[in-house]
């Protein structure tokens, strides 16, 4: 699998990987920003753009057009990778060999229209659309508490990175949403389009030359002056572990532990860290699964997650509320075991193999392929998926023990009942 890079304008990179195993062509457009007090505005933009464009003035018209295009999927999401905030627009259209038409050009035309030809009224966006989308965004921010498992992790990170930009929620704050109107949002939109780096990935049975000519034709932005997005600060010394509790109307306690790994995403040490995270809580072979779940019957899930672009490692688990101390002790004991070098061949080999499988599996998903390459750009590494796998396979137990010494517990978060 190879990916070709083409430049289609100042700070607009087009990447194309042609392959015929998919039944669709997937276009992902990523606009890169940094978290700031403009985060709420940046997050609101895709919602407003999706309400109407110059050629499709309402969401209904837009949707009907997509349905005519054999149910093309058009979706956006706004999320963060480290302190970088990313707006992703994804369009998935049927490959011409399965339908009677070639709709690739329609697809590029459509997504370009939505992003670059917004509906503008008196030098601003449609005020009704902006007002409605502001309300929806505030509802989304408030509804974070609905999903307890994710919320318990978000809250831990928020407390842990209180004084860092990383604590900014990806949709911004209610107060910041309130300050937006159709005029300042449109001004901001023009700045976004003119100054932020844009990466476009196209995966499917289409040639790089054809895609480039289509984007040259439709995705035209004049006089771009692109800004640099700084890398996310990673290193932080922990003086004292923070203990935080939230009381909610719940029956299960959610325990989340936040660690500083002090490893940058582009460091060679990232690979031992990845394996460490797997040995600790990356599957049924891991220490957390074996000890918290299988041996002590304390939890249904107990696992780790790396927040690669901020250098964090999270451990999460759902437990009986009165088992807080017992679970915490067992979890911390597992981290100590790794530091002491108690890693069995089974744990180590299984982790390496599981990572091989999951990395190889990315090759079967167009959006995961795009995300992999985007992440390479962010970490200033230039690995292919196979290079990445080779790096994993070079990791030794000693490497894991070495990296484990850098990891520091920062915050213990517990969601408990009122």
């Amino acid at each position: 699998m190879s990916i070709l890079k083409r430049n289609i304008g100042n700070g607009i990179n087009l990447y194309v990987s042609q392959m015929d195993k998919f039944k669709t062509i997937t276009i992902n457009i990523y606009i890169n920003n940094r978290l700031s007090n403009e985060t709420a505005k940046f997050a609101l933009l895709p919602s407003v753009l999706k309400r109407g464009s110059l050629n499709y003035k309402t969401y209904k018209e837009m949707t009907r057009h997509l349905e005519e295009l054999y149910g093309a999927t058009f979706a956006f999401s706004v999320y963060k990778k480290g302190e970088r905030q990313i707006a992703q627009f994804r369009l998935e259209i049927a490959d011409s060999s399965y339908i009677k038409d070639d709709i690739t050009e329609d697809g590029v035309k459509f997504i370009s229209d939505v992003l670059l030809n917004p509906l503008v009224v008196n030098n601003g966006f449609d005020s009704k659309y902006v007002q409605q989308e502001k309300e929806k965004q505030k509802n989304l921010i408030n509804s974070r508490i609905n999903e307890k498992t994710k919320y318990a992790v978000d809250r831990c990170i928020e407390e842990m990175c209180k004084d860092e930009d990383f604590s900014i929620y990806e949709l911004g704050s209610i107060d910041d949403v309130d300050k937006i109107d159709e005029i300042n949002l449109y001004e901001y939109y023009k700045k976004v389009i003119k100054t932020l780096p844009i990466d476009i990935y196209v995966i499917g049975n289409v040639s790089a030359d054809k895609i480039k000519s289509l984007f040259d034709k439709y995705f035209k932005i004049d006089s771009r002056d692109v800004v640099d997005i700084p890398d996310t600060p990673i290193y932080k010394k922990v003086d004292q572990v923070k203990y935080v509790q939230d009381k909610l109307d719940v029956t299960q306690g959610k325990l989340t532990l936040g660690f500083r790994t002090n490893v940058k995403p582009g460091d060679d040490e990232y690979f031992p860290l990845l394996v460490l995270s797997g040995v600790l809580g990356g599957g049924p072979f891991s220490k957390l699964f074996m000890n918290v779940r299988e041996k002590a019957s304390l939890a249904y899930y107990a696992q780790t997650r790396l927040e690669r672009f901020k250098g964090l490692m999270l451990i999460m688990s759902g437990i009986e509320i009165e088992n807080y101390q017992k679970a915490l002790d067992i979890i911390l004991k597992q981290v100590e075991e790794i530091r002491d070098g108690n890693i069995s061949d089974y744990e180590f080999d299984s982790t390496i193999k599981a990572l091989n499988t999951s990395m190889n599996s990315l090759k079967d998903s167009a959006t995961q392929i795009s995300d992999f390459y985007l992440s390479q750009n962010l970490s200033h590494t230039n690995y292919s998926i196979d290079d990445f796998i080779n790096k994993i396979n070079e990791v030794t137990k000693e490497d894991i023990i070495d990296v484990s010494k850098k990891i520091q517990l920062d915050t213990v978060y517990f969601m408990t009942k009122k």
């Binding site: 054999y70 060999s97 109307d249 299984s350 190889n360 599996s361 079967d364």
Partner: protein, 422 residues
């Protein structure tokens, strides 16, 4: 061995019936790195009363037992079978729903070894008093997790409103109280009743060799004497709803709602059910889909947001539609839905054709992922449907089919509103 081909999506599938009665389906996917296999039994949480083949009296089992059994199948005399899959770099898992218990793995290497492991461990129960007790703590935490999940509660509260007696209203994992009654003897009894190969199906997808798959099946699947028919006992569900409104308070930011419609046109599977399924999806898209007038009106009135969605679930013996999302005024949404339904007296051909295109595209897309293919295959298989019949069925659907379904299925009398309030 039979070959099945779908011209529209250009996919081929092989079907083979093993002498034990096990049905085997294989879909080769050239160029895919991942392989995926599912070994599933036609046994789920709905099967709580049955007559064991050869017995006279009916057996009544504790709620949540099919799911409990699924957890325990991973235990072997020598330890956990997860270990063997992990050694091959494969990831094994399982799920239980109302009608099905499915065991699965995904791998990128050692596919045939993993397939053998899958077939072997599901045919080898090992339950002890000790390992059964140990699992109760783990499943209790799984139950608690779902108890705190507003969408899950919303869904089951809706089912409780729709159904008087049908076991679909009972939580799949049971309750902490009901699972406390489970012991190894009752697990073995359920296992022996429902895990005979003739009650099961194997599905494999990926860049795999059909003949190698069949070799492993022939070597691993036991050909025990076929058992008699399993008599599953379901209560006589009345043709009315139980309650038209159900409400629960939870830690949510604004009310969540499900509007459920109970389907009385049930009792059949196969192509007829597939056609009803697609016709109903078309109705829901035309009524409340993203391109509908109703969606636009409700959205502009601030009554719904982008979480608003529709779904139809059509099983052989029961079915329902869900229209759901979050809103500060779920009653008003329900009223608007019912008003719109009462005004439908014809279907626009352009709407119908556009939605048919959309559904065709969605089906096509699902063949990009071995997971989606497997899950869709198993779901429809349990309803007597082959998913490769999907595209020809879409083509058969007429304007009258859709209008008839609109008139008969969607009305206030079979409609339930379930709400989770802050």
């Amino acid at each position: 061995m039979r070959e099945i081909f779908n011209e529209t999506i250009k996919e081929k599938m092989y079907h083979y019936e093993h002498e034990s009665g096990l049905n085997v389906y294989v879909m080769p996917k050239k160029g895919f790195i991942k392989q995926y296999a599912m070994f599933a039994t036609h046994y789920g949480s709905n099967d709580s009363q049955f007559i064991v083949p050869g017995e006279k009296n009916k057996t009544l089992v504790p709620d949540g037992i099919a799911h409990f059994l699924e957890h325990k199948m991973f235990e072997e005399e020598e330890g956990s079978i997860f270990e063997e899959f992990s050694k091959n770099g494969a990831s094994a898992n399982a799920y239980t729903n109302f009608t099905t218990t499915a065991y699965l793995f995904s791998s990128t290497d050692n596919f045939y070894d993993n397939l053998k492991l899958l077939l072997d461990f599901v045919q080898r129960p090992y339950f002890t008093d000790e390992n059964v007790e140990k699992e109760k703590g783990i499943i209790a935490q799984e139950i608690r997790m779902y108890d705190d999940d507003p969408s899950w509660r919303l869904f089951f509260n809706m089912l409780g409103g729709l159904y008087h007696l049908h076991p679909v209203k009972v939580d799949i994992a049971g309750t902490i109280e009901s699972i406390s009654k489970i012991d190894k003897d009752i697990l073995y009894k359920c296992y022996r009743t429902f895990y005979h190969p003739s009650n099961m199906v194997l599905f494999a997808v990926g860049d795999v060799d059909i003949n190698k798959v069949l070799d492993i099946v022939n070597n691993s699947v036991k050909s025990d004497k076929r058992q008699g028919e399993i008599k599953r006992i379901y209560p006589n569900e009345p043709e009315t709803i139980n309650k038209n409104y159900v409400e629960q308070k939870m830690a949510v930011s604004m009310p969540l709602f499900n509007i459920g419609f109970k389907d009385y046109d049930v009792g059949y599977g196969g192509k007829k059910l597939l056609k009803k399924d697609i016709v109903t999806q078309i109705c829901l898209e035309i009524l409340a889909g993203r391109s509908s007038d109703l969606y636009e009106e409700l959205y502009n009135d601030g009554l719904i947001d982008s979480t608003f969605d529709t779904e139809y679930v059509g099983e052989i013996d029961h079915g329902y539609s869900i229209i759901g999302g979050q809103s500060n005024d779920p009653e008003a949404v329900k009223q608007a839905v019912l008003d719109k339904i009462s005004k439908v007296d014809s279907i626009d051909d352009s709407d119908l054709n556009r939605i048919k295109r959309k559904i065709t595209g969605r089906f096509l897309k699902s063949f990009n992922s071995v997971e989606s293919i497997s899950h869709n295959f198993i779901t429809y298989y349990m309803r007597g449907i082959n998913i490769l019949d999907y595209t020809t069925t879409i083509e058969e659907i007429t304007n009258d089919d859709v209008l008839d379904r609109f008139k008969t299925f969607f009305n206030e009398k079979n409609c339930v509103l379930s709400v989770i309030k802050p």
